[in-house]
């Protein structure tokens, strides 16, 4: 575990979370799109203008002249069209309330700085230095400021902008003053911006520092250094960082600004949005600007927080998660205070999408699984988060519900059907029909009713998981090492990971190979296939499912998240006890991808969507056609009795003379209203546990009564959970009025 944590810490260093957006990197001014665009998107033109002003110095000039290098790197250009930044900038200017710069009341600095050349680069540098209250002197060879601007813009445009930006600042301007030698200047630093073809005083650029020349204290930039007019302004604005560093430290080694980014954007996941053209002439209306701003993806390497449900729910990137998990697993204090991420660790669906969408393949999910194991190992993970499902797993493997059998007359089999725990729990019919089909085609097909070990894996219980895997291996060997036929993609994934020696195939692929005729639907409804997250790397299966659905007469419409981007229905990791609100949000997001009914091929996806009222079919519903299936989803209690019934039915149909199964009669008869039954289901209270509590109360006499209503109350701790019942005996039966449970235990003397 320590090693795994260290590995993750190393890997996390490659995270690109803080890399700039493409446009920001390419922009000569490095305009921070994450600052500018959210303001535009909410119609905050004034705030957006402030950002723009602070970045470019002369907004009026830049919004006219910028050559928009951002457009060549905007990922939208590959989908529809690059964001029209210049139009947005102009809109920010047009709709801003106040165009004037701020006046800053700073103490004057007693440092003198000379700027040679009053072109845009020199003026930019002068503006920044003057606003920081340096003593600035600009020397200009000609009789006017602006330099090259006179050739490219009407003077009223740029002169007005320059005048406005300098309205609060003072500097000394020496026109008609040609500097012929730097030696004649007595200043703390000099910025040389003499323009294209201007004098360079024999200076050479020093590659060690931004804007540095080979002469200490002398910097150079702008068109003199081969830059275009916009870059020249950017140079002037940015040179002051190098100048200030020199003034403070005497060094000329200001790092050069990065004009590249490492981020990668998956254009598959960008949805088309029509570009906007200005409604009125050259400038956007406010509505135009809002719409166009909303097209901006605000690129950053944030695929994880955009697409991973956990990271998006918590708003945390892998790095932050790594830090929080580390202090949770290894708390700094003895009493374990500050273990902030316990619930977060237990909220991961273990779907693996995080690694799949991260350009650096940072596997946060695996890290969380390792952390879960570490917490479990230390006994620091609250038992309640997984207790129900671990008990469910035990039940699946118990004598009542589990079995491993060869058909009579065979001592080994080619295939073994492994339906998994929940298919038969949802409806025994699915398993029986499938097994009947398999037996018809291959009479030696064996059967294992049991658990793949996923609940133990998700609970971080390594011991239990290893035992489950060992049992499966033993069973498989006892059947003659058959090919396993999986109905559940999670089982398949677990076998691939922990039992790679077992060859496997999906039930649906095998059915398709052996030939099935799904009952045709004449109405040709449009549906969407919901790929379970565990099939992300099973393209063949995804294809077969679509083939079957189409054969059945459905027309298919794709979902935003499918195929290799399939997302979890919320079942994965069995997180709903640890984080119910997260699980609810995930379900809501999944079912609202579109309004079509879904076809899925994981029974958990099916049942979860059905419970959320989304029309949904399991692929077996399509293959075997309609049946007199109870329309109500089974409760958690029924899911257990369904598994008992499944075993019983299978034994009686396929192993006739062995079908002597003791059907355990309930000890007491409970009367429960349908409403209460649903409540118990929602609160994950088994009716069998309720029976145990009432039995305890009745046999020990340990109960209390409200004389007014006659209702009895009693409680019992079963395992770690304490259950309360409120009931009324009625003709030898017990009318259950209410039941509830709590995790803390009562310390009874």
């Amino acid at each position: 575990m320590v090693l795994e944590m260290e590995k993750f810490k190393e890997k996390i260093k490659t995270c690109l979370q803080n890399e700039p957006a493409f446009c920001t990197a390419a922009c000569p001014f490095h305009l921070d799109i994450h600052d500018f665009m959210p303001k535009m998107q909410r119609g905050g033109f004034n705030a957006a203008y402030r950002t723009y002003l602070n970045t470019v110095g002369f907004p009026g000039i830049v919004s006219e002249l910028c050559h928009e290098p951002c457009k060549n790197v905007c990922p939208r250009r590959l989908k529809d069209e690059a964001i029209a930044m210049k139009h947005l900038e102009k809109a920010a200017i047009k709709y801003a309330r106040d165009l004037n710069p701020n006046s800053y009341n700073l103490a004057p600095k007693n440092k003198k700085i000379a700027i040679i050349g009053a072109g845009i680069s020199g003026l930019g540098c002068a503006l920044r230095l003057a606003s920081k209250k340096y003593n600035v002197t600009v020397f200009e060879r000609t009789d006017r400021i602006g330099g090259h601007l006179w050739d490219v813009l009407p003077p009223e445009v740029f002169l007005a902008d320059i005048e406005r930006q300098f309205m609060h600042e003072k500097y000394t301007l020496n026109l008609n003053t040609e500097i012929t030698s730097l030696d004649e200047l007595d200043f703390d630093a000099i910025y040389v911006a003499t323009g294209k073809g201007g004098t360079d005083f024999g200076l050479k650029p020093d590659p060690e520092g931004a804007f540095a020349s080979d002469k200490p204290g002398v910097f150079m930039g702008g068109e003199l250094c081969g830059r275009n007019i916009i870059e020249a302004l950017a140079d002037g604005l940015q040179a002051i960082n190098a100048i200030e560093r020199y003034i403070k430290t005497g060094n000329m080694n200001q790092p050069k600004a990065k004009d590249k980014t490492e981020i990668l954007i998956n254009t598959d996941l960008i949805s088309y949005m029509k570009p906007v053209l200005p409604d009125e002439g050259e400038v956007f209306t406010q509505e135009n600007a809002l719409y166009e701003a909303k097209r901006c993806l605000r690129c950053s390497c944030d695929a994880c927080v955009r697409h991973c449900d956990l990271m998006s729910y918590y708003g945390k990137y892998p790095k932050r998660i790594g830090e929080e998990v580390e202090i949770t697993v290894n708390p700094g204090t003895l009493d374990g205070n500050g273990t902030v991420a316990t619930r977060l660790i237990s909220t991961c669906n273990q779907c693996g999408l995080c690694k799949g969408i991260c350009p650096q393949e940072i596997d946060t999910g695996d890290f969380l699984l390792q952390s879960h194991r570490a917490m479990r190992g230390k006994g620091a993970m609250p038992w309640a988060f997984h207790d129900f499902w671990l008990q469910d797993m035990e039940f699946t493997n118990s004598e009542a519900a589990g079995m491993c059998k060869l058909p009579k007359g065979f001592d080994k089999s080619r295939y073994v059907f492994f339906p998994g725990c929940q298919l038969g729990a949802s409806d025994p019919w699915y398993v029986i029909e499938s097994y009947r089909f398999l037996r018809e085609k291959n009479p030696d097909t064996a059967l294992i009713l049991g658990c793949c070990g996923a609940p133990a894996e998700w609970a971080g219980d390594e011991q239990l998981h290893e035992a489950a895997v060992a049992k499966l291996r033993e069973d498989w060997i006892s059947l003659g090492k058959p090919i396993a036929v999986f109905a559940c993609p999670t089982c398949r994934q677990m076998f691939r990971k922990y039992l790679p020696e077992i060859e496997g195939i999906f039930l649906y692929n095998l059915m398709s190979e052996l030939g099935i005729k799904p009952s045709p639907r004449v109405n040709g409804d449009t549906v969407s296939v919901f790929d379970p997250c565990t099939t992300r790397e099973e393209p063949e299966l995804q294809h077969v499912i679509r083939e079957i659905a189409e054969k059945a007469g459905f027309s298919l419409e794709p979902l935003p998240y499918e195929g290799k981007y399939a997302k979890c229905c919320s079942w994965g990791g069995q997180v709903s006890i640890a984080n119910p609100s997260f699980a609810r949000e995930v379900v809501k997001a999944r079912i609202s991808q579109n309004s079509n009914p879904y076809i899925t091929y994981c029974i958990n996806c099916r049942d979860i969507f059905d419970a959320a009222k989304k029309p949904v079919y399991h692929i077996l519903d399509i293959i075997f056609g309609s049946h007199d299936k109870d329309q109500m989803l089974p409760t958690i209690t029924q899911r257990r009795s369904n598994r008992i019934n499944l075993k019983h039915k299978l034994l009686s149909e396929f192993w006739r003379d062995e079908a002597i199964m003791e059907q355990k009669e309930s000890r007491i008869k409970l009367l429960i209203t349908p409403e209460l039954r649903q409540k118990l289901h929602k609160e994950m209270i088994l009716e069998t546990d309720i029976e145990t509590v009432i039995e305890h109360c009745e046999s020990t006499g340990r109960k209390v009564q409200i004389p007014e209503s006659g209702h009895f109350f009693g409680h019992l701790q079963i395992g770690k959970m304490t259950y309360w019942v409120e009931y009324l005996p009625e003709d030898g039966k017990f009318n259950l009025i209410n039941a509830y449970c709590h995790r803390m235990s009562i310390e009874e003397a």
């Binding site: 374990g336 205070n337 273990t339 902030v340 316990t342 619930r343 609250p382 038992w383 309640a384 988060f385 006499g701 340990r702 109960k703 209390v704 009564q705 409200i706 004389p707 007014e708 009895f712 109350f713 409680h715 309360w724 209410n738 509830y740 449970c741 709590h742 995790r743 803390m744 235990s745 009562i746 310390e747 009874e748 003397a749």
Partner: protein, 64 residues
């Protein structure tokens, strides 16, 4: 539901009265006043308490 109502212990036929009861969860121990039989110690916890304050404390301890 069971608020302010007389509650009787079926074994001792005594009325339950508020008394200190200890609870334990995730290695933490704490106590509060709960309706309890003065003789045998049988307790009663209404659903409101379970779903309210108790669930809150459970959650705090899980997140501690």
């Amino acid at each position: 539901m069971a608020d302010n109502k007389v509650i009787i212990c079926c074994k001792c036929k005594k009325e339950l009265i508020p008394k200190k009861v200890y609870f334990k969860y995730l290695g933490h121990s704490f106590f509060t006043d709960i309706l309890k039989c003065p003789d045998c110690g049988e307790v009663f916890i209404p659903e409101e308490l379970v779903k309210g304050r108790m669930a809150e404390v459970e959650m705090q301890l899980e997140d501690k």
